[in-house]
């Protein structure tokens, strides 16, 4: 009985090993994805090589052990031998693993050197992480935008059924061309984030104040999803990365369109500066923008998280200091997690958010703020 049980202690693992074997195919729920770049294929190959070497080592060592456990047990009448060292054997099992390691290190080193060679890119994207969104800036075009989680709050809170790409969908994905060497410059505005797209085998930390480099050359058009991989605070789990790879011609059309939209938006911004919006309009836009960008920290009810994120409801700053209120949204506050929103929101959106927060949840200041007031603070007037 004891024998049976002790043997079982090892075989209990067999089904798992078999499952791991199955994972050799490209099923992504069991194994690493092969991905869509030459590098990611190399990485997958290295991973499988390592895996099988490890399986072979494990099988060899454990079969000797289990054989011994069956044959050399007291219940089978085995008498203990007397040896307790053997220099030759000990040298062999020091040298052999060493040689195996060299065999692993050589292909790994060559892949690594290739991965880290970011020279001669065809185009460059600046990727900036901040709590809890990504910002993409095309260095060769006048295009930049934020990319935030698109999954509805109700899905997360289990009120709506969860969609197919639950937590892996964003409002504005990064778009890159296939077949070109795209270099990513990766940095952060606040804490450390990590930009990861498994299908490209690219994972690089976004360090505040420093710029990291990575690159990819995608072979196949498609939508590729990843997530922030470095704990970055409360909503670390809600910071997906979505990249769309398009054929170069489609990409050229897309980036041209984006440049045009960016120009239009600038003109629109200038036009709105001269206009006054009604309070209803401001409150409606303000609520929408507030829930999209502010509520993650300050909460939809404006009460914040005590001790972590301050409440806006009855906040002295909001109730008394209009200029300070606009300033903190435009420029953030150093030494706190309050970031600058001047790039993320237009002036009319900031005006709407300021109006909304000054009049929501019983903050009945009655103040109405227009885009030109925001512009005035921005220009230091």
């Amino acid at each position: 009985m004891k024998l049976l049980k002790s043997v079982f202690s090892g075989t209990a693992l067999l089904p798992f090993l078999l499952m791991a074997q199955e994972s050799a195919d490209s099923r992504s729920d069991l194994n690493m994805r092969v991905g869509v770049t030459d590098i990611s294929e190399q990485v997958y190959g290295l991973h499988m090589l390592m895996f099988w070497i490890c399986v072979a080592i494990a099988v060899a060592v454990f079969s000797v052990m289990f054989y011994s456990m069956v044959k050399h047990r007291k219940a089978a009448g085995h008498k203990p031998a007397n040896f307790h060292e053997n220099v030759k054997v000990e040298i062999v099992w020091t040298i052999v693993p060493f040689l195996i390691l060299i065999g692993m290190a050589i292909p790994a080193a060559s892949t690594l050197i290739e991965m880290e060679d970011t020279s001669k890119p065809d185009m460059t994207v600046l990727v900036t992480g901040s709590q809890w969104k990504w910002h993409y800036k095309y260095m060769d075009n006048e295009v930049e935008f934020f990319s935030t989680l698109a999954t509805q709050r109700e899905q997360i809170e289990n009120q709506f059924p969860k969609g197919e790409n639950y937590l892996l969908e964003v409002d504005r994905p990064l778009v890159i061309p296939t077949g070109q060497k795209v270099r990513f410059l990766i940095t952060s505005d606040d804490v450390i984030h990590s930009w990861w797209v498994p299908d490209f085998a690219v994972k690089k930390d976004a360090n505040p104040g420093f710029i990291n480099e990575a690159w990819t050359r995608v072979n196949k058009p498609g939508v590729y999803r990843g997530q922030c991989a470095e704990l970055c605070g409360k909503d670390h789990g809600y910071m997906p990365v979505v990249v769309i790879a398009k054929e170069p011609a489609d990409y050229a059309a897309w980036i041209g369109e984006q440049e045009r939209i960016a120009l239009e938006r600038q003109a629109e911004e200038q036009r709105l500066l001269a206009m006054n919006m009604s309070k209803e309009e401001l409150m409606a836009t303000g609520e929408r923008s507030y829930n999209a960008v502010c509520a993650a920290c300050h909460q939809p009810n404006g009460e914040g998280l005590p001790g972590v994120f301050p409440a806006l409801k009855n906040s002295p700053l909001i109730m008394n200091d209009l200029e300070g209120h606009i300033d903190i949204i435009l420029n953030g506050r150093t030494g706190t997690s309050m970031q600058s929103f001047s790039r993320q929101l237009t002036m009319s959106e900031i005006a709407a958010v300021v109006t909304y927060t000054r009049n929501a949840w019983g903050n009945n200041t009655g103040d109405i703020v227009q885009a030109k007031d925001v512009n005035a603070v921005m220009q230091g007037e």
């Binding site: 290295l46 203990p80 994972k203």
Partner: protein
């Protein structure tokens, strides 16, 4: 080990000590004031067990939230506090104190010393620990909650962006560090100065050797941890900029400092385990440990190498490619001495005369499961592939195999192995079997599928996940709850044992057990080796 004679003779030792130690305090004061290595060992072990259950309860919260996608039970902020405090408690509150407790009980008995060299400091190093963890746990109830930046407390998440409980976190880590350093000094002084006549270094039992090396590691790296938390404290409250790029600092420097502590810390938690397994395997194989000398050298080389591999935790931070290659190769090298250890254990079993009592079952599971953790560690060492593994559940699977089925299983094996010596009674074998089999099955249901979700792309430290990970996470949670419940069997067993229930055991307890601790009576008298034995 060579033959051993006890010049004092064991039988009259009990009466002997009563002459000197009359009027010892009773009740709670006995435990508060005790300077006896066995009492302090017991305190450490109970403290570690309680912390193991507290940290385990937090793991249950984590697994309950991760049972399904979506937010059900806790909010993300509290979830992060749970992962952080779970890690801190298990590392500093459960595994490390348990090993210190075992060292207290066993080192003097194994080397024929009457007690630890610095008994009063021993009392102090234990009794500051409960306060450290009281502070840490109390911080969870502060406004804004406890530490939520992961047990690795990367800056600037732990500085500019943390809640005010950070100050409490820093002081509690300081106290833990002071306690560990004092414990380590005590172990070193005891082993260097108080070995019985004739016990040369190369005759020391493996547990003593591994602890001696561990103690040096502790003294080397705990001050580094103290420096790291102090810099976090001053960055947060006193306007320094060690880790703030805007002030000329560097957030990645934090990681270098932390992992310069953190990697040797990993070996602090596994070297004593190697020692324990090196006692149990020979006993139940009825054969001497194979390659004693190479075991000692392997332990020493693992310890030395542990100082030059720290940045393998940081491959994605953007190091120069030369540094990445160096840390990859250095990390891979560690598998050579680690492999030697595993091969030596198997060679010890080879041609032995094995029986499979509870300690042996845990020891064999240790070898198999620790090796799985070691092999996934080798995969993680390969830098280009680590870019895919890093910060996913693959890493979580790896370090739980090494720390739970490695360190924790070895501690359980040790408790089962030496408990009869401590209490004089055999523990409840039926309960022990239940505990072993439930733990073995559930721990694998708990941690093995983590490899799969990690490879498939699930990041660690997230409270909610994409739908493709849902099935495995349910299995993982079920395994987690089962593993948690299984430990209550262990609790019942240990309580029974402490009440001295069970069959009396012989001095040697186990058939093939060798060493000084098996030559004194069972239960071990309050004072042992007042006159040192002579080891030949």
């Amino acid at each position: 080990m060579s033959t051993i004679t006890d010049t004092a003779g064991n039988t009259n030792e009990h009466d002997h000590h009563d002459d000197h130690h009359h009027g010892a305090p009773k009740g709670i004061m006995r435990w508060l004031l005790t300077t006896n290595h066995k009492d302090i060992g017991t305190l450490y072990l109970w403290f570690a067990f309680i912390m193991f259950l507290v940290g385990g309860a937090m793991a249950m919260v984590i697994r309950a939230e991760l049972f399904q996608p979506g937010l059900q039970i806790v909010d993300p902020n509290f979830f992060n506090q749970m992962t952080t405090v779970h890690g801190l408690i298990m590392v500093f509150g459960a595994v490390m104190p348990a090993f210190t407790g075992l060292a207290n009980w066993l080192v003097p008995m194994m080397i024929g010393a009457p007690d630890m060299a610095l008994p009063r400091m021993n009392n102090w190093s234990f009794w500051i620990l409960p306060f450290a963890f009281l502070i840490l746990l109390a911080s969870l109830f502060m406004e804004g909650g406890g530490p939520s930046f992961g047990w690795t407390f990367y800056a600037p998440l732990s500085t500019t962006y943390s809640s005010d409980s950070t100050a409490l976190f820093v002081f509690s880590v300081h106290i833990m560090g002071i306690s560990s350093i004092m414990g380590a000094i005590n172990v070193i002084v005891t082993i260097i100065n108080m070995r019985a006549p004739g016990m040369t270094l190369m005759k020391m039992p493996m547990f003593v050797w591994t602890w001696l090396i561990t103690a040096f590691l502790l003294i080397a790296v705990m001050p580094v941890l103290a420096a790291a938390v102090t810099m976090v404290l001053t960055d947060k409250y006193f306007g320094t900029d060690f880790f703030n790029a805007a002030g000329g600092g560097d957030p990645v420097m934090f990681q270098h400092i932390f992992w310069f502590f953190g990697h040797p810390e990993v070996y602090i938690m596994i070297l004593p385990a190697f020692g324990i397994i090196s006692h149990i395997i020979p006993t139940f194989s009825r054969k001497k440990l194979f390659g004693y000398a190479s075991m000692v050298y392997a332990t020493a080389s693992i310890a030395l190498l542990s100082f030059v591999v720290w940045a393998h935790h940081m491959f994605t931070t953007g190091m120069p490619v030369g540094a990445e290659l160096f840390f990859m190769v250095a990390t891979m090298l560690i598998s050579v001495p680690t492999g030697v250890k595993v091969f030596n254990w198997v060679a010890t079993m080879w041609q032995g005369s094995m029986t499979f009592e509870i300690p042996m079952l845990f020891a064999i599971s240790f070898i198999v499961l620790f090796t799985i953790g070691g092999l996934s560690g080798l995969m993680l060492a390969i830098t280009p592939v680590d870019f895919q593994y890093h910060d996913t559940y693959f890493v979580v699977a790896h370090f739980h195999y090494v720390l739970v089925t490695g360190a924790v299983f070895s501690i359980m094996a040790a408790v089962y192995y030496w408990l009869p010596k401590w209490t004089g009674k055999m523990f409840d074998i039926r309960l022990a079997k239940w505990h072993f089999w439930c733990s073995l099955v559930s721990v694998n249901v708990l941690f093995f599928p983590m490899h799969f979700v990690g490879l498939a792309g699930m990041p660690r430290r997230i409270p909610d996940y994409a739908l493709q990970f849902a099935d495995f996470n349910q299995w993982i949670s079920i395994g987690g709850f089962a593993f948690g419940l299984s430990q209550l069997i262990f609790l019942a067993l240990v309580i029974k044992a402490c009440r001295k229930q069970g069959e009396p055991v012989t001095d040697q307890v186990w058939d093939g057990a060798e060493g000084l601790e098996w030559e004194i009576p069972s239960p071990a008298p309050y004072h042992t080796f007042d006159t040192p034995p002579v080891v030949r």
